[in-house]
């Protein structure tokens, strides 16, 4: 998952706070609307619980809380991005999931020391497309417990 990949990246772009993030499409299974979440006691604060995703019990992570942002009530725009990494499948709550983008390889830069408010360790790189700045998430780190 490093920016050394030469080919263009196809990513899902989503919003968290005021910033735009991106996750390579190969990790994304689907994007779901908010739905009832069953709390699972005794888990990390950012694990909101589990949902019934078409018969599969899927854990849900609130990305805002994962990154230590202030939590906001979920709204019309809130989405759950179902992401899979190796044998782990989770849902990630984001403020909004906007679109699918093609990022040319040359637009991707290694992460600066500190970007926005997310700790650099969760970041794989940043991409500048036209006027937008996209933060590429390192899913493995996000899922690291």
């Amino acid at each position: 998952m490093m920016a050394s990949v030469q080919a263009d990246w196809k990513v899902i772009a989503f919003r968290l706070k005021e910033e735009e993030y991106a996750l390579p499409v190969q990790y994304v299974r689907s994007i779901e609307k908010m739905q009832p979440i069953t709390r699972v006691p005794g888990t990390a604060h950012y694990v909101k619980g589990v949902i019934n995703l078409r018969g599969v019990v899927t854990p849900i992570i609130d990305l805002r809380e994962r990154f230590g942002f202030a939590s906001e009530p979920y709204g019309e725009q809130t989405r759950i991005i179902i992401a899979a990494f190796e044998d782990i499948e989770v849902g990630l709550i984001v403020d909004a999931a906007n679109d699918v983008l093609d990022l040319p390889a040359e637009s991707i830069e290694p992460p600066p020391e500190a970007i926005g408010s997310v700790e650099a360790s969760y970041i794989d790189g940043v991409a500048k497309v036209e006027n937008r700045l996209l933060i590429l998430l390192d899913l493995a780190k996000v899922l690291d417990r």
Partner: protein, 666 residues
């Protein structure tokens, strides 16, 4: 004697011996004068012969016997090692390997090895094998299976004639497959082809020499058939003979495998392998079909979906309260329960598949430990869900190792104690209610109460004060505590730092329990209780504030309403009096930090659960009802959540967590 339990042992050992023979033969090829190699091969062959004769695999025994004779000749310097001779022995070993794999795959290990046996015999009599002689082939002959025989017999009754037609192509024939096709076409016009040797697929791929044999039922006369075939170009010779059925039946009794010319060894191998399973299916077709386990899993998954929808339907019908709907839903529920029983039964596998490897293991371990041990297996046909079977192997291995290592004493010790020198380990499996029990009992030294206590105290597992109040049973249970091991010497067998606590946690993760009983000097008994199935369980749904949880019925003793004044406090712990027993009250809303939970009212709804002999009362807000649910995992991300064993999807599509009572009973 039932040989099945020794079959795995036999297969494993045979493979080892064949491997050894192969290696030694290769070395022998390089150093033909090294008689120690011949001795090694001879010994392996001899063992193999003995084992296969005991197990009743005659072809295997005959071939090894003949091979052994040749090896004996080499050993006595009557025969010299030549590449040709080794070729024949290698060929024999190849046959042996094929037979063993056939046995391992559930076959009967029969195989036509007459050609090779003949060659070995000739070598033994001093005749050096030469390629020419090997090519001198017995004529092609058909052997009919029972099924084919019936077909032929029926055809005859209906006024057809049965012909065996030997077709020989010209030596310069270029398009053999095309000629075969034309022959078949002609014969199909005149009648029906029942059998071809070599089989049709091989003929089509030109995997034959010049000659092939076809059995045809037809109303035409032999002459007409012959003329039809001779009309095809590039055919050298056609020989049509009327077949008498009685002879062929006698033939099929003698041997089921078709005779093959030695020159077609390669092809013959393929064919007899292809035919053996075919024969079996014909025999069993009426009673059994083989189903890929993946299909069963898919069926199970689909059924689980159905169970979820059934739950939803039941809920809707209760809400609507419509008589006809209720009736239909009830009917559907009953039918799906029956269906569930059937599907679950299909997933059942006999524990034999796990037990089979133990005799060999025990034998080997006993040898390593210098002990004499007999393993008795009882109830190997007891069936368990496949998921359980997959997981239960390692815990059992551990307990058996434990019994041999710590239980059974050395022969001299046993003799001194007036016991037979040979110790006995009994492995039992049986059904009881909704559970399967697996027990491992040994007649060894038993568990030493003092040693266990000493160790438990020194390891800080139990305090000396608390230890005084423990009864024998409770002390024995200490051996399952993490970090416990009674072996005074850390031995290679069971003292690997992985203790019985791992056994216990594995079995508990399967929804089972394990307990131990022991009598000093007489032996120990480990008893494992397992649920019949894992995927669909009955639960009691309970409400805690806004949340719904499921408690497996298998853990529940009963439900009760406990009045506020009946809750006492002991060591700052709320307890209740349940039938004269002091049982601690676990408030689930506290354990699970349920948001919005209120204080207890005048009475508390309590679910009395047990774990082995110990009880606990789980306080909830209210009972919702009993339901069959599908057990689902929380996924790999949430691998271990305290006191939650999984989740299930309720009728309304929401997820409810399943409570792991074992974690809550202290």
């Amino acid at each position: 004697m039932d040989m099945r339990q020794y079959l795995d042992l036999f297969i494993d050992e045979s493979k080892e011996h064949l491997q050894a023979i192969n290696e030694r033969l290769l070395e022998l090829e390089k150093t033909p004068e090294d008689m120690s190699l011949v001795n090694d091969i001879f010994r392996s062959a001899h063992t193999l012969k003995g084992m296969s004769a005991t197990m009743g695999f005659e072809d295997l025994a005959n071939l090894t016997h003949q091979m052994e004779n040749v090896l004996d000749g080499i050993r006595n310097r009557r025969l010299s090692v030549t590449p040709e001779l080794l070729d024949v022995i290698f060929e024999a070993v190849d046959h042996l390997e094929a037979m063993i794999s056939s046995i391992a795959a559930g076959g009967d290990g029969t195989r036509d090895v007459r050609g090779t046996i003949e060659l070995l015999k000739r070598i033994e009599q001093g005749e050096m094998p030469n390629k020419q002689a090997a090519k001198e082939q017995p004529p092609l002959e058909h052997a009919y299976g029972e099924f084919e025989y019936h077909v032929l017999e029926q055809a005859k009754e209906q006024g057809f004639s049965v012909y065996e037609i030997r077709v020989r192509l010209r030596d310069d024939c270029l398009l053999k497959a095309a000629r075969v096709y034309m022959v078949f076409e002609q014969l199909n016009e005149a009648g029906e082809i029942v059998k071809a040797t070599p089989p049709v697929e091989m003929l089509e791929e030109e995997q034959f020499d010049r000659e092939f044999l076809v059995t045809v039922v037809s109303k035409e006369s032999a002459d007409v058939l012959q003329k039809r075939l001779m009309g095809i170009s590039e055919i050298d010779e056609v020989e049509v003979s009327m077949l008498s059925i009685d002879e062929s039946s006698a033939e099929s009794e003698k041997t089921a495998a078709p005779q093959q010319p030695a020159a077609m060894e390669q092809a013959a191998t393929v064919q007899s392998e292809a035919e053996a399973p075919e024969k079996q299916t014909v025999k069993q077709a009426a009673k059994m079909i083989r189903v890929n386990i993946e299909r069963l899993d898919r069926l199970m998954n689909l059924f689980e979906e159905l169970v979820i929808d059934r739950g939803r339907l039941e809920q809707i019908s209760r809400e609507l309260n419509h008589a006809e709907l209720t009736e239909t839903v009830e009917r559907m529920s009953r039918i799906s329960s029956d269906l569930q029983t059937i599907i679950l039964n299909m997933r059942m596998v006999p524990v034999e598949t796990v037990f089979n490897r133990f005799p060999r293991m025990v034998r080997q371990l006993a040898r390593e430990l210098g002990k004499r041990v007999r393993l008795d297996i009882i109830g190997a046909d007891t069936e368990l869900d496949r998921t359980v079977i997959d997981e239960i192997g390692d815990p059992l291995v551990h307990l058996i190792r434990n019994a041999l290592d710590h239980g059974i004493e050395a022969p001299d010790v046993r003799a001194a104690r007036g016991k037979p020198e040979e110790g006995t380990v009994q492995l039992r499996a049986y059904h009881s209610g909704n559970h399967v029990f697996i027990e491992i009992e040994d007649d060894g030294a038993g568990i030493s109460r003092e040693k266990v206590l000493k160790k438990a105290i020194s390891r800080g597992i139990v305090s000396p004060q608390a230890a005084e109040h423990l009864n024998d049973q409770q002390i024995y249970e200490l051996i399952f505590a993490p970090g416990f091991s009674t072996a005074e010497q850390v031995s290679d067998i069971s003292g690997r730092g992985v203790g019985l606590d791992v056994v216990k946690s594995t079995i508990e993760s399967l929804g089972g329990t394990v307990s131990v009983d022991s009598q000093p000097g007489k032996g120990s008994l480990f008893s494992i209780q397992l649920p019949l199935t894992l995927s669909i369980i009955s639960v009691l749904l309970v409400q805690i504030a806004e949340e719904t949880y499921a408690i497996p019925l298998s853990s529940i003793i009963e439900t009760a309403l406990v009045k506020k004044e009946e809750i006492f406090s002991a060591h700052n712990q709320p307890v209740i009096d349940f039938r004269g027993k002091i049982v601690s009250l676990v408030r689930l809303k506290d354990v699970f930090a349920v948001p919005g939970a209120t204080d207890d009212g005048d009475a508390v709804a309590a679910v009395i659960v047990r774990k082995g002999e110990k009880l606990a009362a789980l306080a909830v807000d209210s009972f919702i009802g009993q339901q069959e649910v599908v057990l689902k995992s929380l996924g790999n991300y949430l691998s271990s959540v305290f006191a939650i064993s999984g989740a299930t999807i309720l009728g309304d599509g929401r997820v409810a967590l399943i409570i792991d009572c074992n974690a809550l009973v202290k």
